[in-house]
Symmetry: C2
Subunit: 208 residues, 2 copies
DNA sequence: AGCGACCACATACCGGGTATACATATCCCC
DNA sequence: GGGGATATGTATACCCGGTATGTGGTCGCT
């Protein structure tokens, strides 16, 4: 949903055509998330379908110009005033991977963690190198710089989390070994135990 | 791609049927990311199409059992040994939102930041409340606990980043005001300046 | 004239994700 | 014991995000 609202926000500033929207989006985010032109056009047609934008008029050079509607302006306003929901965070590939690595036997979790930390720290190096280039004071430069900072903060948190995981796994190693033998001789009993222990039903889960 | 590999990893442990795969996945992640059953079946059919898993046999109760293939085992192994790429990070809605809020005139950035911080800190409260419930020592409990920690670390980093943004915006306020007048009287010149300054071409961007 | 780049728009296609249909089985309760 | 709510289990339709590709036009270069 972020691309849809971002395009709307750009259209609120000024009517634009598709190609221009992509350029403006990438300028502001420093091409951190390159935006495929095709997605711009499909998104625009959906915006038009939903009555949030309206395209058709041509400018002096024959471009198909899209302009925001009143409903679209409302949508942008609520987007900016409503915080992004943290109740259903997007799937985190790394967290899923580690959760599986811990629970599936025969996976060398320590190595997984170490390799990931190396990769993330390498990414951090790239970010700090890029930061040296983003020293302008223009609004777009500032925005890009903030986006970069967000990547840095996220990567640093990831490294800290990996360290934390290592520590917890080391600490729990002894207990886990005990638990281990209980797990291996009866997988189905474990499963039943899980189902019984969570009062939650299938319908509860599908309903939300 | 994370769901696909997660299901494969579960199948490596033991042949399973669709419904069971969902239960196992949610047990390990503590229903942090509820998994729609439909996605399990579509993913399984894609896995079968790609030769990574193979289903058809029925168990004693008539369930459609899927089992991993050798190619699937290879896929899981490479998944666990290859770190998740940070070169093209997934789109961060909040970062995009702030980048737009900063560059589009007429948006109260300070309020956006404050409201987001409140929401994120509320989420943090929920996480710590949940953490008190996850005190078991079983493998699945440990995995869920680690997933929760990852959410906590990410949320904390987000709050820190928001503080950081506030500070930078305050510091740059004076310069921005100067820049402001230059921006408002010639948007197209800014655009041209951007295009000229980045040596990168459209083809470069689409090619990668 | 021909080649290659860039600009601009449009569409096909795929995978992730949700909602829903449909069929059994179980359980509770009047 | 019949019936409604609930749970299990599989399958499919649909939408959206995202990528790749097709088509046509302009400009500059050799």
């Amino acid at each position: 949903m972020s691309v849809k609202h971002a395009l709307l926000a750009l259209l609120e500033q000024e009517p634009m055509y598709g190609y221009q929207l992509r350029a403006e989006f990438e300028q502001r985010t420093g091409t951190t998330w390159p935006l495929n032109v095709g997605q711009v056009y499909t998104t625009l047609s959906r915006l038009e379908r939903d009555g949030l934008a309206q395209g058709g008029g041509e400018d002096t050079e024959g471009h198909v110009i899209y302009r925001i509607t009143d409903a679209g302006r409302d949508e942008v306003a609520t987007w900016f005033t409503t915080p992004v929901a943290r109740t259903q965070p997007p799937r985190d590939e790394l967290a899923i991977k580690l959760a599986l690595a811990v629970t599936v036997p025969g996976v060398d979790v320590a190595t997984v963690i170490q390799q990931q930390r190396s990769a993330t720290m390498a990414a951090l190096q790239d970010y700090t190198r890029l930061k040296r280039q983003a020293t302008g004071t223009a609004r777009a430069e500032l925005a890009w710089s903030l986006v970069l900072d967000s990547l840095v903060f996220a990567a640093e948190a990831e490294v800290r989390w990996l360290d934390h995981c290592e520590a917890r796994l080391r600490r729990a190693a002894a207990e886990l070994d005990v638990q281990n033998s209980r797990l291996t001789d009866g997988t189905s009993s474990v499963k039943r135990e899980f189902r019984r222990s969570t009062g939650e039903t299938h319908a509860d889960r599908t309903r939300r």
